[in-house]
Amino acid sequence: MERTGTTRRRALLATGAAAAAVLTGCSRDEPGARRATPRSESVETVLRRRSAELSGALLLRYDAVLTAHPALAARLTPLRAEVVRHVEALAPTGSRPRPGTPPARSVSRPPSPSSPAPSASGPARPGPSVAASPAVPPVPADAGAAVRELAAAERTTADGHTAALSGAPPEYARLLASVAAAGAVHAYLLTEGSR
């Protein structure tokens, strides 16, 4: 039922030298295994981290649009708040930033017009660390265009979560499907709500 073979293979490629530890001990989140091999990650942890990063990248886009177009705050802030909840729900349980990453900043409040533009650091609290943060493309000067791009980003993010369904354990698959559905809802609200 679960196609874990493909994701396990990806995890092996990703962790390199830690591959042996992945094979022997860490197919489920076991505290003992984590303590013994702190640098290896279970298959589910890798999936969770990637999924949280996907929604985290969407969160960065919301922040960029809100910084460039403060007048959209009433419309975008409720949706942004839901994306924050998605990042937190998707993140690995008990996750903490890897050594060397900057401390995760609070994401509970959206940026105000006077605050500096958000940096490309770990977006969630407690961070799933963002090893390679995606650069947020520049926000269009036209607010309508910015909203349309955000809707497209919601759809792309939802597609990404949908693509992860096959390899996900049952409970996490249920969460992914819900977050993907929420993305479709957001895209609808951003597209239709402007009428």
Partner: protein, 142 residues
């Protein structure tokens, strides 16, 4: 009985109820949104038919529709009909999220697509959405 079969039967039962409920919605929703109600009715019938095939393929016996279903509240006017439509979609979303959990492969993806459709229909009827469509345990905090 496998988890996938039980979840598919639960989804089929919810689609039977949704088909019935949309019959009521269509009759009272008013001119402006009747076409939308008709489209939703047709979509739920198609999902119902697909789930009947799925249940049989999984070796089960599809539950039959009831003659009538108790509505969650009285539907005397357009506003109530719109509210009922949203509630129907929310219930359908809930059973499909369970089917996503219980199933694998193509059935999991079909269930996820049905969950997404239900969530979008729900927001179209109600005007607002929720953070985690289909997840009742996360609804309280909305």
């Amino acid at each position: 009985m496998s988890d996938a079969l039980a979840a598919a039967q639960a989804a089929l039962a919810a689609e039977h109820a949704a088909v019935y409920g949309y019959g009521v919605v269509g009759g009272r929703v008013g001119e402006a949104r009747r076409a939308e109600a008709v489209a939703a009715y047709a979509s739920h019938r198609a999902r119902r038919d697909a789930l009947e095939r799925t249940v049989r393929d999984l070796g089960g016996k599809p539950p039959a529709a009831q003659a009538a279903y108790a509505l969650p509240f009285a539907v005397p006017d357009t506003a109530a009909a719109v509210r009922l439509a949203a509630v129907l979609e929310d219930r359908v979303a809930g059973v499909y999220s369970d089917l996503v959990r219980a199933a694998g492969g193509p059935l999991r993806h079909d269930a996820a697509a049905a969950l997404r459709e239900a969530a979008v229909r729900s927001v179209r009827w109600r005007g607002t959405g929720v953070a985690f469509p289909g997840l009742a345990e996360r609804a309280a905090a909305q």
